[in-house]
């Protein structure tokens, strides 16, 4: 490290050199990731703002599917997750997290949806009074 500004990779201490190669992306990788992410971002925006799909359920499913694909693009091209780095422990931690996140999200939505559907109807005096909604300036103009 006597010459931090030297152009070669000798500026890196040898100890971190191996770790370097494992996670390091390439210019091509970042640009590919950027291009894919941009496309996968523009499509859902266009679908929503251009009212391209009339069916609400289909639209939501398409948005979520594109988001999941884009998350994987970020993981591969920006976070450089692969099975080799850190002897595969990164991947193990990621798979474990993904399984738990799916359980947390899926089970919450499933349980609370059924809870809501099966709840006894509320007596009118306990329901929130519609008058409590004060229309704001922005809504009043619509």
């Amino acid at each position: 490290m006597s010459q931090p500004s030297s152009p070669g990779h000798h500026a890196m201490p040898p100890a971190s050199h191996d770790a370097m190669h494992e996670h390091q992306g390439s210019l091509r990788g970042y640009l590919t990731g950027f291009l894919l992410a941009a496309i996968l971002t523009v499509i859902p925006f266009w679908l929503v703002m251009g009212h391209a799909i009339a069916n609400q359920q289909v639209l939501i499913l398409v948005i979520l599917a594109l988001a999941i694909v884009q998350i994987f693009v970020h993981i591969v091209y920006f976070l450089h997750l692969d099975t080799r780095s850190e002897s595969g422990w990164n991947m193990m931690a990621f798979i474990f997290t993904a399984v738990l996140v799916i359980i947390v999200l899926g089970a919450s939505i499933w349980v609370m949806y059924n809870e809501n559907v099966n709840m006894m109807p509320m007596a009118p005096q306990y329901q929130q009074h519609p008058i409590s909604h004060q229309p704001t300036g922005k809504q009043a103009s619509r």
Binding site: P4, A19, H23, Q128
Partner: protein
């Protein structure tokens, strides 16, 4: 006391085996990755909260009324470009070019700062309209999730400033390289979470 037999017994030999290769000497990156995975749980629970409460408007404004899609598009672009420029900084770092790395880091930091300031402006506008976090369960869960992400980005910017100063003063030492690699993962991770936020919270929130 009948412990003599235990006390005089020879120490048991180490009888564990490394069945798989142990992580490399420098375990910081793996440790930081595990921190990010635990951060995933924070966001997953906030997403679950929003998924459950996202339509509980309590007679207040709905997502389509308060969420600003053109502003969201600008914010999304800022964060994505910031993520890529941080990647460019890492490539320059790997080549040992400190000046170019600092330049890209500055660009990434400024883009993220623009993101945070636009988000704060959006929040203040919503609160001024009467659509603050106290209005309905939908808005409470919205503000909690989006502001938690914004707080992460803000702390990331603070961390970036500290590391830029460190790199200027001490150069690309092994310690600084390791810290910058952790920050790089943090930065890309926040962009990844934002994909979930703009897709699910905003776009789906507007549609449903």
């Amino acid at each position: 006391m009948n412990t003599t037999a235990i006390d005089t017994a020879p120490p048991a030999p180490a009888d564990y085996y490394c069945l798989t290769e142990s992580p490399p000497r420098n375990g910081t990156l793996l440790g930081f990755w595990i921190y990010l995975m635990s951060d995933c749980f924070i966001f997953a629970s906030l997403f679950a909260c929003y998924a459950v409460l996202g339509t509980a408007y309590a007679g207040g404004p709905t997502g389509a009324e308060v969420l600003d899609l053109p502003g969201l598009a600008v914010n999304t672009a800022l964060l994505l470009v910031s993520s890529v420029t941080f990647g460019f900084a890492m490539l320059e770092m790997a080549r040992g070019r400190k000046g170019a790395m600092l330049g890209w880091l500055a660009v990434a930091g400024l883009l993220a700062a623009a993101f945070v300031s636009l988000e704060i402006r959006e929040f203040l506008g919503m609160i001024a309209e009467g659509a603050g976090p106290g209005r309905s369960a939908f808005l409470s869960s919205f503000f909690t999730l989006v502001a938690t992400h914004g707080l992460h980005v803000t702390l990331g910017i603070l961390w970036l400033v500290v590391l830029v100063v460190q790199s200027i003063r001490f150069g690309l030492t092994e310690d600084n390289v390791r810290r910058l690699r952790c920050l790089s993962m943090f930065w890309h991770f926040l962009d990844l979470v934002w994909v979930g936020v703009f897709s699910y919270v905003y776009l789906v929130g507007v549609v449903r």
